[in-house]
Amino acid sequence: MTYIITEPCVGVKDAACVDVCPVDCIYTTDDDDMFFISPDECIDCAACEPVCPVTAIFAEEAVPAMYEEYIKINYDYFDK
């Protein structure tokens, strides 16, 4: 399991999640319009989920249907 960042992050990039993550596993670049969680590094602590001001982060199995494509988007980001 991992945590997944979804659509509400797009264009917001508040980075609250990055600040609280205990293992620094949330990445982006200036060219990306959102952040991504590395599924291999995430320890499923859930620290990031409640601090996101736009409710963009979900446990993988709890991602709402309307954001399901973001599961693949997150995984693909690290498979490049």
Partner: protein, 275 residues
């Protein structure tokens, strides 16, 4: 997982992330407080005045177990982090590397104050707030074991005390009812720092309360179906230095009451207590 459902409208200055992992820090006590106590004390400490600036949330394991409550404080205004736990000083933590633990202070208002930009203390100086081990808590716990508690007027009674070091182990039959506290000169003192048990052969086993940093109540059912009750104490190196095993009492009527007291003690103090 969030401690409150309200996400602050503005970007907070400080995030406090409390580990409530039931299989780890969430179930341990330090100086009488567990994760739930710490969480509610932190929420009280934030209060209405700083609610928009300090966000307290919960998480699962955030790594860096200290056998007691754990929380991270994130200073978002300076991009610094302080790791609070039940120990003080440097330690190596899986995935997080070499970190410096700040001891959780008795008054959590201090935590809020120490991290807001206008009153911030340098993180490296926060370690100096560690107090001595809480021997009052250990003394009252041992007294409850020895004399019982309000609804449990019978103590834990017959036991075997096991003391060991790297070279030798000694097991001594004793009765916890005879526990006495003495000062450094061996004079009886209800506030003394040494707990003395008189053994069945009239010997004495003395325990320096200030050397005990961790205690565990262990209740098991053995392969033969018999219950086993033990209290293990460890030092600051997490070595188990003093073990108490309860013996079956010859007074059969006392055994169910001793069981109830043991379970009540576990409930009152938590199955693991750190000092």
């Amino acid at each position: 997982m969030s401690a409150s459902d309200t996400r602050p409208a503005a970007r907070p200055d400080v995030n406090i992330v409390v580990c409530t992992d039931e299989s780890g820090c969430g179930r341990w006590y330090h100086r009488g407080r567990n994760a739930d106590t710490i969480l509610s004390q932190l929420n009280d400490a934030v209060g209405d005045d700083t609610a928009e600036r300090v966000q307290v949330t919960t998480a699962g394991c955030i790594l860096g177990c200290t056998y007691g409550p754990r929380f991270d404080v994130v200073r978002r205004w300076s991009d610094e982090k302080a790791l609070y736990g039940s120990i003080c000083g440097e330690a190596t933590v899986t995935r997080r590397g070499r970190v410096n633990f700040v001891p959780i202070p008795d008054h959590l208002e201090q935590v809020v104050k120490d991290h807001l930009p206008e009153s911030a203390q340098p993180i490296a100086e926060l370690n100096a707030q560690d107090g001595p081990p809480d021997i009052d808590l250990l003394r009252s716990l041992l007294l409850d074991c020895s004399a019982g508690m309000a609804d449990h007027p019978i103590g834990l009674g017959e036991a075997v005390v096991m003391v060991h070091n790297a070279a030798a182990t000694v097991s001594i039959p004793a009765t916890l009812d005879d526990m006495q506290f003495v000062d450094g000169s061996g004079n009886p003192d209800t506030g003394g720092g040494i707990a003395v048990l008189t053994t069945d052969g009239d010997g004495r086993v003395a325990l320096q309360l200030s050397r005990v940093r961790r205690l565990e109540f262990i209740h098991r059912v053995l392969g033969n179906g018999m219950p086993s009750y033990a209290i293990w104490m460890g030092d600051d190196q997490l070595e188990t230095v003093y073990r108490i095993y309860l013996r079956r009492s010859e007074n059969a009527a006392a055994n169910p009451k001793r069981h109830q007291l043991f379970m009540t003690l576990t409930e009152k103090y938590g199955s693991t207590v750190t000092f």
